[in-house]
Symmetry: C2
Subunit: 451 residues, 2 copies
């Protein structure tokens, strides 16, 4: 009933981190196998064809400073192109009023705008005090990690409008409410990206570019290149370490014996694997406290990007919800219109419990309010609730609550015997982004098989 | 290789909650099986003989208001007796000075004492605003859940001495640092116990009484009564729900088919079971964010309770650490001396990574500083790091970080199909205490098989 195989390295999880790690190891002559629980590779990048267009249901944007993912795309022959941004953005107020604006910050009234500008400035300044390699070690780490982002917003913003906009920004960036994030984690993420603008901007920021065929195409090409080294539908249940190596057991009882194991899944899912001997207390306890963000992404296709005719960019922010933000995700040619929308944080949780029909109606209503009735009758429609995907259980990334970085952060990246940790959450640059995943996969491969 | 069995109800986890639940179901004629991962029943109550005395390595105290555990003890023929409290308590300052004091609060200087008294008063007042059945539903729930206990302490206490003592109280009650706890959770715990004094006091509080033979004796008697219904060494890996029932699969492939399943393990461990169909997003995400507290309990035995001769009660608090607190746990007869010490929160994490010899030396040094050199040479010595126990992974209880109660708390107790949740964390009274476990086990049994 059970089967035994050998490899030099077993990589657990064929998200971008695992794929990059396995690919690099293979190129260095290492015998590697990549075990993936889902029936397809890609992890938090995922996609399919909708109306003949490759659409991303997961991560899809890249931007300046994300050197490793641009290099990977170039190597795989995938071209990047700019996200469509021409036209006015829109903001939906809590009362449901839809206002046009240019740039990244909508018209909120002068005092609220001052609030937001001050908050951005302070976050950037705080970010410079954090060492992304050791966020727990800074002189003000305990102070930053002792409070929620909510407490900081309430202290920093003097106006209700400013506070509401910062709440929205938190929801958009971290897929959670400001109460759930440690201020230190918020600041670390800014530092890991470079600046708050790097996180939030299209041009010059993390949403600047897209990839031909979608970001999931990168994952697919890597998986293709790895060929039979990738085993799909093979959830890992147990990792046993012994003197001469490690044994990785999948759900069907197959055993893989290897010299090293790279666990390239999210922290909470890494915590759900059985380890023998059990993991040290610090590592285990860390995986108990890093929940994934909550996001439902929807994709709607139209015969053309009709909003452009009305002078709109397709980018929207909504204080009313449930869509936190939308972006024009039409194909490069513009011969068809595609809008993507993100319900994040609290609205994503509210929607998760509804029926698919109710959720679809609610989200299309939200698009209609932002872009007019045409948005309510797409030719194609898809959505993905990442928190319901059995072997992902949330996105974009794990969120550090207060106290986690300073109490247990040192256990995040530290190998345990023959087990190495990868995944975007282990990266000190671009935590939570595709770039972070690529970097973490490269780093794990380098640790095991240096050039 | 795999075996199939049938039962009306499968209970997962033979801690106090699972034992009480299974026992009550059995008394009502329900065919029940109780699957326990560890080689013994008891969960977070655990004990053994040390120098011929039954000592508790886990939960051991009970007190007024904990009606169900007193009733259970009476039913099982186990007598309660008062914790020894005669004599002076001691406080070790951060500088290592050891001061005697009476009552619950040491001599901190008049302003610091005012701080502590004010904090106690405010916590009690806040507690009255929380409905323990629905902590997320109060009018000030979002405000309380948006901040850490750390932020509240810093705002409430005006003196460094007051703040340090409140930090110590947090470490003693929640086994974590104030940065890690939501203020709402802290207040909920107070409400679930009745008052802050109910949590902290010996006489009149949760540490008032002990049990002949130890609290783990209750668990053992229940397990004995359940007989072959308890299966030890049977970790549950998967729970599958289908139209006609549920199938529970253990690590060795044995399958138990039942009409109902009660999962009576801690929230993080409940999250590590595989569910088919996967759990709803809200329940799954909740289990990603409720880490267990960190505690190492040590037990040292002496020929006699020598500290009593010196006019000491054996109770100590230490601001220096690593022992947060100690208690006289000598047998009722007093014919032998037993001290128990608790390293909790940050000190417990520091100690977890050390060698057993180093840890023992460090903890005995700490006892010596508090009670004199005699304390450093016990006749017997034991310790347990609860975070290292594979199927417990922390104690006393799970800790809600900010945002968890208000965003996802409703998923804590809500059954999912045929699956019911038990364990002290699911109790609205005495959350985290043995009493909470007993109540949760009774409630789960009542939900499945009402009288």
């Amino acid at each position: 009933m059970s089967h035994h195989h050998d490899a030099d390295v077993v990589v657990v999880g064929a998200g971008m981190a695992g794929l990059v790690c396995a690919d690099r190891l293979r190129l260095r002559g290492v015998r590697v196998v990549l075990l993936e629980a889902e029936p397809q590779a890609g992890g938090r990048t995922a996609g399919l064809d909708l109306d003949g267009e490759a659409v991303d249901l997961g991560g899809q944007f890249i931007g300046p400073g994300q050197d490793r993912v641009y290099a990977l795309a170039a190597e795989l022959g995938v071209r990047a192109f700019p996200t469509h941004t021409a036209g006015a953005n829109v903001l939906e107020t809590e009362a449901g009023e839809v206002r046009r604006f240019r740039g990244m910050v909508p018209k909120l009234g002068p005092l609220a705008l001052l609030d937001v500008a001050r908050a951005q400035r302070r976050l950037d300044r705080l970010a410079r005090t954090v060492d992304p390699e050791r966020p727990w070690a800074g002189t003000n780490a305990a102070t930053l990690d002792g409070q929620t982002f909510r407490s900081w917003i309430d202290r920093t913003a003097k106006t209700a409008g400013g506070r509401r906009f910062l709440d929205l920004a938190c929801r958009a960036i971290w897929c959670c409410e400001p109460s759930e994030v440690s201020l230190l984690h918020a600041v670390f993420m800014v530092r890991a990206a470079g600046s708050i603008a790097a996180l939030t901007d299209f041009e010059g920021g993390a949403q600047q570019d897209r990839l031909d065929g979608g970001a999931h195409g990168l994952a697919q090409r890597l998986a293709d290149r790895l060929g039979t080294a990738v085993r799909l539908g093979a959830p890992v249940r147990r990792i046993t370490q012994h003197e001469s190596g490690a044994t990785v057991t999948t759900a069907d009882g197959t055993e893989w014996c290897a010299g090293h194991v790279v666990v390239a899944v999210t922290p909470p899912l890494a915590g759900r694997i059985e380890y023998d001997p059990p993991l040290p207390a610090d590592r285990d306890n860390l995986t108990q406290r890093l929940p994934m963000g909550s996001v439902i992404k929807c994709v709607a296709t139209y015969p053309e990007p009709f909003w452009r005719r009305a002078g709109l960019s397709g980018a929207a922010l909504s204080l009313r919800g449930p869509l936190t933000l939308t972006v024009d995700s039409s194909p490069r040619s513009g011969h068809r219109g595609i809008l993507i929308g993100f319900a994040t944080g609290s609205p994503a949780r509210d929607l998760a419990g509804r029926t698919p029909a109710d959720r679809r109606t609610t989200l299309l209503d939200a698009l209609s309010r932002l872009f007019g009735p045409e948005a309510g009758t797409p030719t194609g429609y898809l959505e993905r609730d990442w928190n319901s995907v059995a072997f992902t259980r949330g996105a974009y990334a794990a969120v550090f609550p207060p106290g986690a970085w300073t109490q247990l952060g040192a256990a995040l990246r530290k190998p345990v015997g023959r087990i190495h940790w990868a995944g975007s959450e282990t990266s000190s640059r671009w935590y939570g982004y595709i770039e972070g995943a690529v970097r973490s996969g490269e780093a794990a491969a380098d640790a095991i098989a240096p050039t």
